[in-house]
């Protein structure tokens, strides 16, 4: 018997029954999640989603600024780097390659990083107001390494991509059809932190020390 069959047989012994029939399995597949009902979505504080998102982000030590158009992103990034005493260099996601980075005085490299970059710039697929979270999908356009290796992580988020809860994100992923789930979906809520030494919170454990959102709206 294969490992799979051994474990499954043992589970069925524990459950006191044999394998489920096709009809029963189909019925399970047709359920809307385990409870076969719409998810229970917590009520969010009153106010526009952007405001709720910002409050969530700031609660976890993230920061946010707004730009009116996507074209303004390189300039805003240049301002952020200068403001943090960093040189005008950044590892940028290929999804943002078409912007005029050199025009803003930034030496941008496009693609994954191996850790030599102080700043990484990515594009979020969705923002979630509930906790001020960013949802990033991996792919050639958005390498995952940019989210974790640089000290400063700057994330571009379109206002139209802001949703109230995580659940609609899963719905939207299913609608991607063939492409379905990417290798990685990163839900990021604030900069890296640890409390492993004497329960003292320290930012920048292994990932970015700071997280900045550029909201394009």
């Amino acid at each position: 018997m294969s490992g799979r069959e051994t474990v499954l047989a043992s589970i069925r012994r524990g459950l006191g029954r044999g394998p489920l029939g096709d009809a029963a399995r189909r019925a399970l597949d047709e359920r809307q999640g385990a409870t076969d009902s719409a998810p229970l979505l917590p009520k969010l504080p009153k106010g526009p989603l952007q405001q709720v998102f910002r409050a969530g982000l700031e609660k976890v030590s993230g920061t946010m600024s707004e730009v009116a158009k996507l074209d303004e992103v390189p300039g805003a990034v240049a301002g952020y780097l200068a403001g943090h005493g960093l040189g005008p260099e950044a590892a940028v996601a290929p999804s943002l390659e078409s912007l005029d980075w050199s025009g803003a005085g930034i030496q941008a490299s496009f693609g994954p990083t191996r850790g030599g970059d102080y700043a990484g710039v990515s594009l979020a697929w969705r923002g979630v107001a509930e906790n001020g979270s960013l949802v990033l999908l991996s792919g050639p356009e958005n390498p995952t390494s940019l989210n974790f290796l640089p000290d400063h992580h700057i994330v571009v988020l379109h206002g139209k991509d802001l949703v109230a809860h995580l659940e609609p994100v899963w719905g939207a992923l299913r609608e991607r059809g063939e492409k379905g789930w990417p290798r990685t979906v990163n839900v990021i809520t604030g900069p890296s932190r640890t409390a492993d030494i004497e329960l003292t919170i320290q930012l920048g454990a292994h990932g970015p020390r700071s997280l900045h959102v550029l909201l394009v709206d």
């Binding site: 799979r4 589970i11 991996s138 789930w181 290798r183 990163n186 990021i188 030494i197 004497e198 990932g207």
Partner: protein, 476 residues
Amino acid sequence: MESLSHAFKERSVHALKDETLQVALNRAKDGFAVKRAKAVEGLPEFDALRDRAVAIKNHTLENLDHYLERYADAVERNGGKVHWASSAEDARRIVVEICRAAGAKMITKGKSMVGEEVGVNGALEGAGFEVVETDLGEYIIQLAHEPPSHIIVPAVHKTRGQIADLFHENHQKYGLTRKLSEVPEMVNEARQVLRSKYLEADVGITGANFLIAESGTSVIVTNEGNGDLTCSLPRVHIVTAGIEKVVPTAEDATTLLRLLARSATGQDLTTYTTFSTGPKRADDTDGPEEYHVVLVDSGRSTMLADQFREMLRCIRCGACMNHCPVYGAIGGHAYGWVYPGPMGSVLTPLSVGLKEAGNLPNACTLNGHCAEVCPVRIPLPDLLRTLRHREYQLKLGLKPLRWGLAAWVWFTSHPRIYRLGTRVQARMLATLAGRKGRFTRMPLAGGWFKGGRDLPAPQGETFMAVWTRRRKERGQ
């Protein structure tokens, strides 16, 4: 992992006398409970979400074979490979084989309790691999050659000074020779050392907080980002997960996520919630080339058969130990195996046997605080009591206690003799205590006094005697 649970009594007494440990435990004591209470207060739907979580877990467990098959098929569709481990031994062998086949030298690990349970590190080191834990807490205890003392804060028993010593001793080989004293510089130094390990590693091993059946996705939550570096930089990613981790959909996982961090650390959500689905795609520029999942049974399927199925709802948040006064007094190591506190006191005897770990379910006052805070409403005190019942039936407990109980039951089911006996006892104890009103010692009752307390003396007459006399006086 080998169990030391048989030595619980000695280890707990030792822990109570360990002053450094007591300093660390006192620091942790209120922090978690206060933070959790605040986080729960901030989410009015918390209790309703708990009910949902219970329903999600119960339904999935009832159909566990179905959802695991759906999960495994989805993983393979995405280009990953699923390995089924019936036992801890199977799991160790499978992980070692994957690493060998990958030609690995260096392996990084994200925190995985099931990894600790089956003893992955020992097996890999035995097979000649270099294994580096990357969660800061796990890294610290790896340097100290200790098991975790808490399931979410593995080094909670260590003080800053002890950690500084460990770093000083172990980081010199990297040219880091200065002795540190402040938390930020220690975190930075660990970051620096571990950064090179992530980039060097051939294989990254993580656990999973949830497995999503519909998409074949494994979910991990971390605050440090170590889990992400572990699963995205090396060539091979191995996920080790208990079979009970599966849920049908991403929405189901999201409901559980709303409870997990709040119950664990009092955060609304951890910093990084990462959903991994298979190896890198054809056009991806980063990510692992191989994605393996090791599904571990190791006794879990047996728990499906009875009351202990409820324990399989556990999402490993640690709230039960954070609120357990016994854990708070002795810390996690005294329990002697991987899982400490109330959840560990249920799981350990089921895994290593009641003969080995019979003390654990008994070392509990049944105060119920753990069940009150459990996000998936596991009736931990009831399960502990059931284990005591098993122990009693197997005649494993202390003999004098059995005899005492038998005598007490006989006594309590013979009311007339009971009345007489209690009268004599109350009168005698009151007389013996004399004008002091309490005892500072007493033969055969050493246990009570060993707890550093006196025993108040009875008032003298039993209530029943007073009552009977009164009724006579009133002529009733």
